[in-house]
Every structure is written in C-alpha cells, then in structure tokens.
Symmetry: C2
Subunit: 266 residues, 2 copies
C-alpha cells in the first residue's frame, strides 16, 4: 500500500469511529477518551525521556484516565486530590529528579488529562441539556478542516514561513487562509445548529478557535523540536504519532466548551 | 544581634504585618500578596536556575501578580488567558529550552501565583459574607502553630526520621505530635468562630490541614534538595528564604478555603 492510501484508510477508520462516538451514547466517547488519553500520554512521556526526564508512566496514565472516569461516574473530586497527594508523596521518597518530576507530572496531567477530557464534558453537557450532537461534532470537524486549510492554502500560495524553527512547513499564508476558511465554516455550521447566536459571535468563535488550533499545533511542535524529533511516534501509518493528530483539538475542544458555557446564553 | 534574637524580631515584624493585613480592608492583604508572590517567585526561579532552567522572570512575575490583581479588581479571566497565550507564543519563538519552559512556567504560575492568591480569595469571601476576620486568621495561625509543634515535638522526643533524604530534621514523632496539637487547636479555635460546625468536622479539618502543611513543607524541601540547596535564599535574617516561610501556607490556605466553600453549609 502506498503511504497516501494508508493515510486515507487510517483517516477514514478513525474519522468514522470518532464521529460515531460523538453521536451515540456518551459511554463510547468515554471509552475512546481513555484510549486517546493513554496513547497521547505514553507518546508525551516518551518525548520527555529523550531528554532524560523520567516520570512514572503508571501513575501519570492512572491520573490522566481518572479525570474522565471520575467525571463520567460522578465521583468526588476529592478522590482525585487524594490520588495526586499519594503520587507526589511517592515521588518525594522514590524519585531522584524531584524538581523535574513534579512540574512535568502536573503539566502532563493538565495537557493530556484535563484538556482532552473536555470533549467528553461537552458531550455530557449537550446531552444533559437535550441539545444536538452536532454541537459536539463542531470542534472536531472545525479542527480537522482548519488543519487541512492551513496545509492546503500553505501548499498552494505559501511564501512566508510562520515559525521556521519549530514547524518549517507552516506559512503565514496558510495561517491566514485557514482563519478565513474556518470563520466561513463556523458561520455556516453554527447558523444551522445554534441559530440564535449572532453572526458576530459566530465570526469571533471561528477566529478564536482557528488561532487556538494553530497555537495548539505549534506548542506540540515546539516540544518535539526542542527535544529533536519530528513525529511524536510512528503508530499511525502515514500520519506520524497519535499526539500529532490531536494537538490542535487539545486546545479547541476546551475553548469551545467554555465559550458555549459562559458566553452563550441559553 | 544573635541569630535567635534576629529571628524573633523578624517573626514579630512579619507576624504583626500579616495579622494586621488580615483584619483591616482587603486592599492591604492584596498589596502584601503582591510582595509575597513576587519574592517567592523570584526565589523559586533562582532555585531552577541552579539547574540551568531559565524562565523569563519578567513574564512569570507579571502572570503571578496578575492573578490577585484581576481577582481583586473583578477583571475578566479572559485577560489572563490572553496574557498566557502571549507568553507562550513569545516562548515558542524566543526560548531555546521550550520543553522545559512551558511546564516550569505553568508550574510556577500554579505554585506561586494561584496557590498564594487563595488567602486573598478567603479574605474577600469572608468580607462579602459578613463573617469574622478570625476565619482568615485561622489558616495562618494554624500553619504557624503546626510548623512550630512539628519542630518542638521533634526536638523533644524525635527518634525516627520522617524523610531523611529531603528534610533531615523532620521526625515521625514531630509529624504525629503536630497533628495532635493542630487537631486540638482546630477544635478550640473553630468552636469559637464557627460554632455550628460539628466537632467531627473540626477534627477532620485539623487533620487534613496538618498533613497538608507538612506535605507543603516537604514538597518545597524536595525541590531544594534535588537542586542541592538548603535555604531558598538568605533574605530573612535567621529564617532562611521567603519561600521557606510560606511553603506550608501555600497548601493550607487553598485547602481551608475549599473546605469552607464546598463542605460547610452556611
């Protein structure tokens, strides 16, 4: 199979799986979140290990999976605080590089536990309020389209590098092009699913999410570049690593969730 | 002046200042919080620099001072999110050790921006609800007493080391002794200021806060030990560094605040 064909097949399988999970009972999205979080966490800890930063993989995966789990089963947040304390006391006694372990553990929990859980938060919130699952699909579709537009416009007319040191293929033209495409998409899509939102708000949402998606991508690229690698792993044929596929969504899903909760009156 | 006398004088000056700030208008506690946060942040960034971790001092102090400031003046949290984005994009373009800068910056913001601001949150909450300022004094007095009891009991009958690698002077006897003293203190003090709380709750609060205070101390000691120093600085005559004085309060103030908000019915 050619690389291009592999890429298409993997994209179709993952895409179908994710879209299905967004539309049926939240339990499927919960299970997919567990897999997504575990894989991305493993890749991230691998990236850190390239710089001799060793974090207890078992504990961080446990803590990251505990976030959607406690949320999904309505567990008390105190359970989580207790888990955190156990891990940090353990680290205090067992681990050498304490000054590295604590900040990197907390960062890994925030970046690959808290952020990815927001898609599930969104799903449950939408369901609880009897709203359309197309709302949950929005950040996913948006992020995919935004990434594609940045790549497409960049390949087509890109001349000026956006961040040559971190991500040599990104261009300013791609950046601006993806904002335009994303704003248009937001306006059309949100008009259909949330008709009472003003056109101005739709444009702003598109703009914020497009910038956030591209920053999410750059942040992950920044990590990879500064440790000297290009892909987070080779797990997905034709796509590079798992974290590479979700880096933008890590930023867009939470931001969309909070915009929806705090700025859009129901 | 002998070291002991210096220690007493500094303690009296700081103690008077802090207790005054807790009882009068919140603006004074806000100003003291700014000073406290700035000094502790500078010391922490210095500790990191001993391991060649260089974080932009200006940005982190700005972000840490922004937390109590935005809170105090009822600013939008969006201002803060905007500030964060600016800093991380700046880091992406300007800083070499990106994989270190991002997690350590976020940790420094959490540890020395978010946590210390909780004393001000508590003060404002107490004032808004027309409650006694003695509630705000509680975590401060508690933490000071707990530290003193751990040291006193440890010196008196301490035989077994608690965490010999991290903090060689701490003993298991001091740990248990301070829990007993703290639980008794909680019961007496809280009975006077919050009489409707059950005796059981008072004991639990004392227990949780005593353990939290000692963990807070160990966490900071863990940082110092793993970079090879004993005091966070020599700024306070007879007391070592500033961070050394507040390490326990960083944990007890937020925990007490959340216990009060979420577990005690008013």
């Amino acid at each position: 199979l050619s690389n291009f064909l592999k890429r298409i097949i993997v994209a179709l399988i993952l895409g179908t799986l994710v879209v299905t999970a967004l539309f049926i009972h939240p339990i499927l999205l919960y299970i997919i979140s567990l897999i997504w979080i575990a894989l991305a966490t493993i890749e991230f800890l691998h990236i850190l290990s390239l710089k001799q930063i060793y974090i207890n993989r078992f504990f961080i995966i446990l803590l990251n999976l505990a976030i959607p789990t406690i949320f999904y089963f309505n567990g008390s947040r105190l359970i989580y605080v207790g888990l955190l304390f156990i891990v940090f006391i353990y680290s205090l006694y067992k681990q050498e590089q304490y000054y590295l372990v604590v900040p990197f553990s907390l960062f890994a929990i925030f970046y690959l536990g808290v952020l990815p859980s927001h898609l599930l938060f969104l799903k449950v919130w939408v369901r609880t309020h009897g709203l359309s699952s197309f709302i949950v699909l929005f950040p996913v579709l948006f992020t995919w389209l935004n990434d594609t537009a940045a790549y497409g416009v960049g390949s087509w007319i890109g001349q000026h590098k956006l961040a040559s040191k971190i991500s040599p293929n990104k261009t300013i033209e791609g950046f601006i092009g993806s904002i335009i495409v994303s704003v248009l998409f937001s306006a059309i899509y949100l008009r259909a699913i949330l008709p009472h939102i003003s056109a101005f708000a739709m444009v702003i949402i598109g703009l914020i999410l497009s910038v956030a998606a591209q920053i999410g991508d750059l942040v992950e690229s920044g990590f990879k570049r500064s440790v000297g690698i290009k892909d987070s792993s080779g797990i997905l044929p034709g796509h590079g690593g798992f974290l590479d596929r979700v880096d933008s969504l890590l930023f867009t899903a939470p931001i969309f969730y909070y915009i929806l909760l705090y700025f859009i009156a129901w």
